[in-house]
């Protein structure tokens, strides 16, 4: 765990307490049972907004708290521990795009509402099942944006889309007739949709440089890795707890060396994942080597969460295969997040290119 300021420690403890008391995995089960395509509890999101979590990276001048990315990441990590469903990550990333690339008018129009929780935003970038921001067919003509975006996170309640077109990023407001949201049910039972824009009114994000999209994606990679870190930590802790109480051959499983060494291996992996993810957050706050740090953070998050979620099921034995047990939620969510904003092979290629080989 990174060494935190007093303010960050308070925020982390608040998040930890709220998640443990108010948002256990049972809450996600209830959301799933409800069957709503939005797949989160609006009351819970309203509480998050009241606690200020929607404004962590938004400047104070625009209604936020300007606490920085390490603070935002710690909250998202805590939410990941109980697979808490919410549009917090999506909205934070939409806000980040406007902070980086918006005009003063755009910031004044959107950031206070994103910070207050009144508006839900999301990124609409990829156009197929693979993260591929270099090939985009979406176009804008005369301020009207046309294109189809695949597997958009948290689109159902979003009224603000940050859309990647071939020539840059645009803000599009959800509107009947020009923005169509079609649900795509994925294994993680969260909000995913194909979003079709048919001549939707679009405003370009003119600032932030030619690499604005890359900058936004770096933030998406790091913040997603934070959710993955919380999940990996929880799977590890749950599995360790299970091994310590499950008895076979008249011994607790944790007393078998074959299992001890597997857990020691995973513990080392988890340490590396935490360092990589926290390193990414610190890079965002200091502005140093962000693209490399982002590729490294999510590549490690992919590698380690993949391993831990797989081993978590195996080490639980048969009970890990049951829907009644929580571990399966983490496995399914893990694969969705691994594929979002860059698979491991995409990220390794990007890391090598950024490093000049």
């Amino acid at each position: 765990m990174a060494v935190l300021s007093e303010e960050q420690e308070m925020l982390r403890n608040m998040a930890r307490e709220w998640v443990a008391n108010e948002s256990p995995v049972a809450k996600f089960r209830a959301v799933r049972a409800g069957g709503e395509p939005r797949a989160y509890d609006p009351a819970a999101y309203a509480t998050m907004a009241q606690m200020g979590w929607t404004g962590v990276i938004i400047p104070e001048a625009f209604g936020g708290y300007d606490f920085g990315w390490l603070s935002a990441g710690m909250i998202v990590e805590e939410l990941g521990k109980t697979v808490t469903a919410s549009p917090l990550v999506a909205t934070t990333l939409a806000a980040a795009a406007i902070v980086l690339g918006g005009s003063d008018e755009q910031k004044a129009r959107w950031l206070p509402q994103l910070a207050s929780g009144a508006v839900i935003g999301t990124l609409a970038i990829d156009e197929g099942p693979h993260h591929n921001p270099r090939t985009l067919a979406t176009t804008v003509a005369g301020g009207a944006l046309t294109g189809t975006k695949a597997f958009v996170h948290e689109a159902h309640d979003a009224t603000l889309f940050v859309v990647a077109a071939a020539d840059g990023l645009y803000l599009v407001e959800g509107a009947e007739g020009t923005v169509d949201v079609a649900t795509r049910h994925l294994a993680d039972m969260r909000s995913h949709a194909q979003v079709t824009f048919s001549g939707a009114a679009a405003q370009k994000l003119e600032h932030g440089g030619d690499d604005l999209l890359d900058k936004v994606l770096d933030r998406a990679r790091i913040l997603t890795a934070c959710e993955m870190l919380g999940m990996a930590q929880q799977v590890f802790d749950t599995t360790l707890g299970y091994l310590k109480q499950r008895v076979q051959f008249n011994q607790v499983l944790s007393s078998f060396q074959a299992l001890q060494h597997r857990m020691a291996d995973l513990f080392g992996d988890l340490a590396m994942m935490r360092s990589a993810v926290e390193g990414g957050l610190q890079a965002l706050d200091s502005g140093v080597m962000v693209p490399q740090a982002a590729a490294l953070a999510k590549a490690e998050a992919n590698r380690v969460l993949h391993t831990i979620s797989r081993e978590g099921v195996q080490l639980h034995g048969g009970i890990g295969m049951t829907d009644e047990y929580d571990i399966g939620f983490y496995l399914k969510r893990a694969r969705v997040l691994e594929a979002s904003w860059g698979t491991t092979s995409f990220l390794k290629d990007r890391f090598a290119t950024l490093s000049g080989y």
Partner: protein, 403 residues
Amino acid sequence: MATRPMTDKDAANEAFRQEVRQFLADHFPPELKGKGNPMAGVESDLRETEAQKRWRAAMGSKGWGTPTWPAAYGGGGLSRGQAAILNEELARAGAYNPIGGMGVMMFGPTLLEYGNEQQKQEHIPPICRGEIRWCQGYSEPNAGSDLANLQTTAEDKGDHYLVNGQKTWTSGGQWADKCFCLVRTDRSDKHKGISFLLIDMKAPGVEVRPIRMISGLSPFCETFFTDVKVPKENLVGREGEGWTIGKRLLQHERTNLSGGGSMARMMGPRLSDLAKKYRETDADGALADKVLRDRIADFEIRWGAFLLTARRATEESKAQGGVSEISSVLKKLGTKLGQERAELTIEIMGLQGLGWEGEGFSDAELSGVRAWLFGKATTIYGGSTEIQSNIIAKRVLGMLDHQ
């Protein structure tokens, strides 16, 4: 970011930085710029040039080779902040720290914690001045991973101990002046029968035989003790406290093995730079062999995550004080990655990377081969990877053995 007004602390740090710069200008021999510390390695004899000797004496008299150790025992007495400034200025001037070895890395910190006043007065200052080389008498032929099975005995003879037995894998034993040693003072209890004793390597009855390794080098020795008389005042802690003290020392050793010391020495140029030198690149400068490129990126990402972990452990230990059981995690990860790197290096170079001696190979190629082979020891010594996994599982994760 807004410029912060200068505080008293900033001013004091700035004054200290100027003091270090002046000291370096006065004392650092320019011909040593960019050279490594001859005392840092266990692989080579200590043969110093006059300039190296002068530089060691200058740093030793300031205590700056051991910057945060207490000034009362010859250390620098610096705060961590000042030590960081000192390191920055050394690096800026291309100067190495001439004070090193096992005395600095392992024995000194342990003696400062467990030694009595007289022992600290006697042994710490010569370490700070780099005058005494220490070696480690831990492993025995039948006490490797099962270290507590050690049988070298120290018999109480009233005013002295009489030591008999054999140690092995004594790093740098042939060049050491003194040995910190685990000995058995009681046969009735495996762990509580062990004591921590300091032995003069020049004493009658001590015999050292270098062992030739697969690397062709002989950095380790067998050490034989035959009726060696050791004064009673050389016992550190109480009789039977050796296992506790000895384990503490191993935490210091592991921290060094994984992070700073030997890992850093094994590191050459970046693998990707090496690959671009030895392998073809395509028009845009990327490696033409895409499978190799992927494997290098895969390694570099994990290596980056490891370095961040080592940094995080340092920051956390600063906040919590002292080394911890996390040292086992770092040792396990760092040594495995170091070996993986050495294997990749050879693969990148092809047969050119397997030269043993003679013509047709650069110095870097030849030393790389020896480093690859020597590196195989890193997952065995200081507690093997398997022992580290036991420590992590039991001490950190609380996974206890069969009851």
